[in-house]
């Protein structure tokens, strides 16, 4: 590792927004050929630091140097010109363009003034091959690929420009294990070539697997810079949340499953038999009892979200039937599902959850308001009570009902969306990846909440890519593979390996 001159050095950086100091006196160094993890809870200032480095935000004070040269990045373009490339958590490409158009957008090889499409194709193939993505057709539409592949294509784009610095903001949050390995292989390749990589992830294991050095932030302040091999996981967590290790140990074990499983004599709240949809999932049989948490386990893209959407009426099922409390029902739209007391927290917060330009208050009461209809506004007094109650119980920060929700951190946005459903007092709550991309504190809070809601008698369908989490919370686990439900496991001392075995061997 080259210790002499950092590729990027940020010194004493401060950025403030009205009422908040997002960053205060933060130092950050990034060396050639290293993977540097930026660690911290949501709201610690990781995104802000990245945005300062990429020219999205301008810094109030402090200095930035790139390869020893003083730089200022008034615009993202200036940062890119300095060789800094970013792949964001949500893929920022054009879904309706082809893969090759996306990879080379704005830098297409030209011949006599017009785009050299043959050159585009061959250049794209080269870059994709470097990333072991040979199976991807450069001429196919970006949107025809899974989120994971789209993410790798976004990385391909930065490989193509020979970026000196590659920033990966939560790159693995929607990848399954294989895809993560593929990504890490790519990251190691790039590191070998001397690229400086800034890696942000909430998955501690991944951070330990891939990173050489880490910088920890807390509440906009620098906690310290450490070599990954010198810092234990527990130490890291305690530095991130600023609590002592003992308090952490308790937090870690708190959301263990404590409920007794509901007897089979009770009618299930939901009984889906043979539901499916052409081109999506088929023949799904699932029943959920009151007070029960049913987990959906399976690889990303196996059809977990599709099942949730069928039950919620977001997509129309074209086969099978659904019984709610023992009575056959047709659920044709989300609205119909909500009327049957079903709630659905989508995995895609930005696109399918948030109304970004509305306040926390408006977002929180939206589902309740929608089911009352436009003419009967939820009275301001009741809104205030509900909002105050949920801001307090879910610890939503900032505790300001009139803040625009797009200005909140991911974890807090997720809490508001959870609260949106909780105020409608649903009997079945479908949670699709409720803890993805949020910090460890918020994650534990949400897990605890799931536990206590089920204890109060709510049925919960819990979907998560983290098998540990599914197993920790669920009474039963339905295993989904290749768009079919392949097994249903009663969760008594089931281990992650057991479920993996089922997923691996389900159809053999």
């Amino acid at each position: 590792m080259n210790e002499s001159v950092p590729v990027v050095e940020m010194t004493d950086i401060a950025i403030g927004f009205p009422g908040v100091k997002a960053l205060d006196g933060v130092n950050f160094r990034l060396f050639q050929g290293e993977v540097h993890a930026l660690m911290g809870e949501n709201g610690a200032g990781k995104s802000t630091l990245i945005k300062a480095l990429t020219g999205v935000y301008t810094i109030d004070s402090g200095t930035m140097t790139v390869l020893g040269e003083r730089k200022q990045f008034p615009t993202p373009a200036a940062s890119q010109a300095a060789g800094i490339s970013t792949v964001y958590q949500e893929v920022n490409l054009c879904p309706n363009l082809t893969v090759e158009e996306n990879v080379l957008l704005g830098r297409e090889p030209r011949r006599r003034g017009s785009i050299d499409w043959k050159g585009v194709r061959s250049r794209t193939r080269e870059v994709l091959a470097e990333l072991h993505l040979d199976h991807v057709d450069p001429g196919s539409l970006l949107s025809s690929h899974s989120i994971a592949v789209q993410q790798l294509i976004a990385i391909a784009r930065s490989v193509e420009i020979n970026a000196k610095v590659l920033i990966l903001d939560e790159p693995t949050s929607s990848l399954d294990a294989d895809e993560v390995n593929q990504l890490f292989r790519v990251i190691r390749d790039l590191r070998e070539r001397g690229v400086a990589i800034l890696f942000v992830s909430h998955f501690l294991e991944q951070v330990y697997e891939i990173s050489d050095r880490m910088t920890v932030l807390r509440n906009g302040k620098l906690v310290g810079e450490y070599m990954t091999r010198d810092l234990s996981r527990m130490n890291l967590i305690s530095k991130m949340i600023g609590k002592e290790l003992e308090a952490l140990a308790e937090l870690d074990h708190a959301p263990a499953r404590t409920r007794a499983r509901t007897g089979s004599g009770v009618t299930p709240f939901l009984e889906a038999s043979g539901i499916g949809r052409k081109g999506s999932v088929s023949d799904v049989n699932l029943s959920i009892y009151p007070g029960e948490v049913v987990g959906l386990a399976g690889l990303l893209g196996a059809g977990r979200t599709e099942i949730a959407r069928l039950i919620f009426g977001a997509d129309k099922a074209d086969e099978g039937s659904i019984k709610i409390k023992g009575v056959g029902q047709k659920v044709r739209s989300p609205r119909a599902a909500i009327d049957k007391r079903i709630g659905f927290c989508s995995e895609d917060r930005k696109e399918e959850g948030l109304i970004g330009d509305l306040s926390v208050r408006d977002n929180l009461v939206l589902a309740m308001q929608a089911s009352k209809g436009w003419a009967r506004r939820v009275p301001r007094r009741i809104q205030d009570e509900l909002v105050a109650e949920y801001i307090a119980t879910l610890d939503i920060r900032p505790a300001n009902p009139d803040a625009l929700i797009r200005n909140l951190s991911g974890g807090n946005q997720q809490k508001v969306l959870l609260a949106r459903w909780l105020v409608t007092s649903p009997e079945l709550l479908i949670l699709d990846e409720p803890t993805r991309g949020i910090d460890i504190g918020a994650k534990t809070q949400i897990q605890k909440l799931v536990n206590s809601l089920a204890t109060e008698g709510m049925s919960i369908l819990f979907i998560s890519s983290e098998l540990e989490e599914v197993l920790r919370l669920s009474d039963r686990v339905a295993v989904i593979k290749d768009r079919k439900m392949v097994a249903e496991i009663k969760n008594d001392d089931v281990s992650v390996e057991d479920v993996m075995t089922v997923i691996a061997g389900g159809t053999q």
């Binding site: 659905f344 408006d362 308001q369 506004r377």
Partner: protein, 347 residues
């Protein structure tokens, strides 16, 4: 939040004030109001009265735009409403009676509502893009209006009908009072109920709104019906003011003025957050401009260019990018000093 809203309205209000001031400088009696025969007179009253149809239509347009739509058919609806009411009055056995006038108003409003239902149906149920859906009625509507008037300009003489556009009540022109009433209606309809928030939700993120259980179809229907309703009232006002229905020219290009008023007022064409007050200010700016052209004695051939310049200025002042540019221009002499300071630190 409040300061943000203030901020959003700040530039339109400043632009309006500047225009009024300009007029006042060139014509010192510009802002003066006087009483004559129990009626209030003055340039301000004229601006409000002449701007009334644009304001009405812009109010409806604001809600349509907030819900990610656009309504190009309002001008055609103006023509149909005017044609319908005037044709009815002209054909009725008692063309001067108040009952006839009332029926004519009813017919125009019903026609407007019906056309709004049609627009809403195309957009919300069939899923036609708003600009195309309302383009249908924009072109077909003038044809319908001509069919109603038989290609003629229908003149009517009914004093009750004439009062809508040219009458006075409580010292003020009736058209101003009607506009104020519709503004109040729109405000109450959207802010006393949840309609305003739900329109914004659909405009900002239709997918998330659907998953939250919103029936966006109904919301979209409501905004198009309201827009057409406003256009019908404006149609009545315009035809009543000239006591005639002109299928070809009534409300011609008024959709452009309305859209402009919405944008100048600070509502984004991308949908979402809207401001009705801003729209009214925007419409006033457009109307005051027309007056200013006369006050300043600007030759007719440069009138449109002058208007375009003012509108461009207001739009630029609202754009965050242009504002940042302006700010950095203001701070332009400073960087040298800053560099010097940095040098010192470096040493």
């Amino acid at each position: 939040m409040k300061s943000l809203l203030k901020n959003r309205l700040a530039w339109p209000v400043i632009a309006l004030a500047a225009l009024l001031l300009l007029n006042q400088i060139f014509r010192p009696d510009f802002l003066a109001l006087r009483m004559q025969d129990g009626h209030l007179y003055g340039s301000l009253i004229d601006i409000m009265r002449n701007g009334a149809p644009t304001i009405l239509i812009a109010l409806g347009m604001t809600l349509v735009i907030a819900a990610r739509g656009i309504d190009l058919s309002v001008g055609a609806i103006v023509a149909i409403a005017g044609a319908g009411s005037c044709a009815y009055i002209a054909a009725s056995p008692e063309p001067a009676s108040p009952v006839t006038a009332a029926m004519a108003v009813l017919i125009a409003v019903l026609a407007g509502l019906l056309l709004g239902v049609w627009n809403g149906f195309l957009v919300s149920t069939i899923g036609v893009q708003p600009i195309i859906a309302t383009l249908v009625l924009m072109t077909a509507g003038r044809g319908i209006a001509q069919l109603i008037t038989d290609g003629q300009i229908i003149s009517v003489s009914n004093d009750h009908y004439k009062a809508i556009g040219a009458g006075y009540l409580f010292t003020l022109p009736v058209s101003i009072l009607i506009t104020a009433a519709v503004f109040t209606l729109a405000t109450v309809l959207t802010r006393r109920t949840a309609l305003g928030t739900l329109i914004e939700a659909v405009g900002i993120n239709p997918v998330a709104s659907r998953l939250a259980g919103l029936r966006s179809r109904n919301i979209i229907w409501i905004v198009y019906i309201f827009s057409a309703f406003c256009a019908a009232i404006a149609g009545l006002m315009i035809s009543s003011n000239v006591t005639a229905a002109d299928a070809n020219n009534a409300g011609l290009y008024i959709e452009m003025d309305a859209i402009l008023a919405v944008v100048i007022g600070g509502t984004s064409l991308a949908g979402g957050r809207y401001t009705l007050v801003g729209t009214v200010v925007g419409a006033f700016i457009i109307q005051t401009l027309t007056t200013t052209v006369y006050t300043l004695g600007i030759p007719p051939e440069v009138t449109l260019v002058f208007k375009a310049l003012v509108v461009l200025t207001v739009c630029l002042l609202q754009a965050p990018k242009a504002r940042n540019l302006l700010r950095s221009l203001k701070a332009a002499p400073k960087p040298a000093a800053k560099e010097a300071a940095k040098e010192k630190v470096a040493i």
